[in-house]
């Protein structure tokens, strides 16, 4: 079934798709957003770890291979709001050194833009969605910018107790920048610090798309169609322009949505899957993939968690799932001797009992009566800190189409991911420093959160660059090969940095959407 042609069809209603929808709808464009999953409302966000799994990935699975298979189930999204419906809302930005690793270290590649190109959009996003923090305090590590619109969030003993330890190793901690309301903001209430951010904030104190850009988009006339599974991007006969998308609706019936511009904002893994599945005689390797770079350079973060029990009640149920304190003190690419890559440090998170992040998992080796005893101790005195690490882009880490197909006949995606030798070195360096911090902080018991090296925050796959010889898109997310086809989200990151990615996703999406709106007639015409 064909639908009335619109100006732009956006695939995915998460952080990036919502931002594009808001900007373009406000610019007067007719916008349709197709979302694979349900149309969640705030009232669906039950404060429970297992009910919270309703908003985690469903639908066609990705096949996971490599030495360090990507684990996306905890962080991915399902339905309107996407992963940003249940994210932790830590809002660190990338720093200037992230944009020029090749120039400064002859590693990986430079971004085609600098920090100064993105900085105004960080500031604008902060005003749009509401960010709490202390921008001035961050200026010991980054260029000055606008102050955040709200003061820092409250801190609690589970965060404060670590400060002495950080000081002992020379790490300065500052109030964490978070996409949460420390005060009422734009009609949304202040946070009540009950620590259920990770299953979704139903009062709208946390800046999820439902209460920020997607709300703006809907108010400006954008139409959101849930339960719409896009399977292909369509092109004209010459292969020079995209003309819309093919999708399947809730009744599993095939639909076509024609549009002047297509924006894929379906997640770092799904965007390449769609491009690869949209091959034609003019694009035999998939759209925007003449250079074979679609699906390449997948990247993740990894974290070194230091866990401890203190001999006092740290009230670890209080606060937010995001951090109370953060530091870029180890963000230099060579900050740790013998290792390479940035580390971003956080402290002070509210904890729950169950789920992946719950403190029952803090000692996975314990079971039976020993676990029961641990749970009682941990309920009173357990806390943790973490250091996110940066993975360098590697062309072998990639998305491919598999032979298995989903219910619509679309090949499943296969994510192949292995860490290189840099990663364990940086992982270990942060563990060693974490234990020193815990000891100096006066922890009674302390240990490193080991196991397999985690894979967090999937990025890359449609990276940006200076041209088709090194990348899939330009700095706005516009594909080099087809000017009216855009990529949005963490897939366009050229390198990963070590900062939580969503603030940068919002900023780059805002930058790309504004460019598209400004040059609409050239691009869409």
């Amino acid at each position: 079934m064909a639908n009335e042609k619109v100006d732009v069809v956006i695939v995915g209603a998460g952080a990036s798709g919502s931002t594009y929808a808001a900007v373009l709808a406000k610019a007067g464009k007719k916008v349709v957003v197709l979302e694979q999953g349900p149309d969640w409302q705030l009232s669906d966000l039950i404060s429970s770890d297992f009910w919270g799994r309703r908003v985690k990935p469903a639908g066609a699975p990705f096949l996971l291979e490599g030495k360090n298979p990507v684990s996306y189930g905890y962080q991915g999204g399902w339905g309107v709001g996407g992963a940003a419906l249940h994210y932790f809302a830590n809002f660190p930005r990338l720093l200037p050194n992230d944009f020029r690793i090749k120039s400064e270290h002859n590693r990986a590649h430079d971004w085609p833009i600098s920090y100064q190109d993105v900085a105004p959009y960080y500031d604008k996003v902060a005003r749009d969605v509401g960010v709490s923090g202390d921008a001035k305090a961050e200026e010991i590590w980054r260029p000055a910018g606008d102050p955040y619109p709200m003061p820092p969030m409250k801190t609690f003993r589970n965060g404060q107790i670590w400060l002495k330890g950080f000081e002992s190793v020379g790490i300065r901690m500052v109030p964490a920048a978070v996409g949460m309301n420390s005060t009422e903001y734009k009609g949304r209430p202040a946070c009540i610090y009950d620590g259920w951010c990770h299953v979704g904030c139903p009062i709208g104190a946390l800046a999820n798309p439902l209460v920020t850009y997607l709300a703006d988009a809907r108010k400006a006339g954008a139409e959101v169609r849930p339960w719409s599974s896009v399977t292909r991007v369509l092109t004209n006969a010459q292969g020079t322009k995209v003309t819309g998308v093919e999708y399947y609706d809730q009744k599993k019936e095939r639909q076509v949505q024609e549009a002047s511009v297509v924006v894929l904002a379906a997640w770092a893994a799904q965007n390449p899957r769609l491009l690869l599945n949209s091959s034609t005689d003019k694009h035999p390797k998939g759209l925007a993939n003449t250079n074979g770079l679609v699906g390449k350079y997948m990247m993740t973060h990894f974290s070194s968690g230091t866990l401890a029990i203190f001999d006092e009640n740290v009230e670890n149920h209080m606060g937010t799932t995001g951090a109370q304190y953060m530091s870029y003190e180890r963000y230099g690419k060579t900050a740790h001797k013998g290792a390479f890559g940035s580390s971003f440090i956080v402290a002070g998170t509210a904890l729950k009992t169950s789920d992946l992040g719950g403190f029952a998992n803090a000692r996975l080796d314990l079971f039976g009566p020993e676990l029961t005893a641990f749970m009682k101790r941990a309920a009173r005195g357990f806390s943790r800190i973490g250091a996110f690490g940066e993975e360098m882009p590697n062309i072998e880490n990639r998305i491919e189409l598999a032979s298995d197909k989903d219910e619509f006949g679309m090949p499943l995606g296969r994510i192949i991911h292995s860490y290189d030798d840099d990663v364990p070195k940086l992982w270990e360096a942060n563990f060693a420093e974490g234990l020193a911090i815990a000891k100096a902080a006066g922890a009674k018991e302390m240990w490193s959160g080991r196991g397999n090296i985690p894979t967090i925050h999937l990025m890359g796959g449609t990276i940006m660059g200076t041209g088709a010889e090194n990348s899939v898109v330009n700095s706005y997310g516009q594909t080099h090969e087809i000017p009216n086809l855009y990529m949005a989200g963490p897939g366009i990151f050229a390198t990963s940095g070590a900062s939580n990615p969503t603030y940068t996703i919002f900023a780059l999406s805002l930058r790309g959407a504004e460019q598209l709106a400004t040059k609409w007639s050239t691009i869409a015409g």
Partner: protein
């Protein structure tokens, strides 16, 4: 979500219960209540449920009475995109029933090999603990099925869910639950 779906979802969540079938009629019960009332299983066999209860109790004391078998049975009997299982987070490929059948069979096969042909639920606590500890460390020779450490992780998570993830579980640890939107009936 559609209005109809939302009503059904909210009824279950706010009712603090899952949908179980009793006498051909769908009723909302907590897994503990479903177990106490002897609600028939939909997908697991009685033998699989016995293994799951014994394994759950070994991993997290209290899991049997909290209804781990009824929880898992109900969850693997509904569409995967509605499931509340940790399996969803840990990237288990649906249908989830396949994983649980394979995992429970592997545990019983290992138990039979180690304990003169007896299933896991039929051996003593010491033997159960020994098997679980070996499974956790991937030290069971001839193990057949999903990886032992992964079975340990996932089944332990299910047991933690039903024992510590509920409002009663928080109360037992003395932790304020502090919900925005509360599951009622302490589930």
């Amino acid at each position: 979500m559609s209005q109809m779906e939302r009503r059904a979802f909210m009824k279950g969540a706010a009712g603090g219960a899952l949908a179980f079938t009793v006498g051909g009629i769908e009723v909302l019960l907590t897994p503990a209540a479903a177990r106490a009332q002897g609600v028939p299983l939909r997908t697991l066999t009685a033998a699989q449920a016995a293994t799951l209860e014994a394994l759950g109790e070994t991993l997290v004391p209290g899991a049997r009475q909290a209804g781990i078998a009824h929880f898992v049975d109900q969850q693997i009997s509904i569409p995967a995109d509605e499931a509340l299982l940790e399996a969803r987070i840990l990237n288990v490929r649906p249908p989830y029933a396949n994983f649980y059948r394979a995992a429970l069979a592997a545990v019983d096969r290992a138990s039979q090999a180690l304990n003169s042909g007896r299933n896991f639920a039929q051996v003593g606590e010491a033997e159960q603990r020994s098997l679980v500890d070996s499974m956790r460390q991937n030290k069971i020779e001839g193990w057949q099925g999903p990886g032992g450490p992964f079975v340990y992780l996932l089944l332990r998570s299910d047991a933690v869910d039903v024992v510590y993830g509920t409002m009663d579980g928080y109360a037992g640890l003395g932790i304020p639950y502090m919900p925005h939107i509360a599951p009622t009936k302490r589930w």
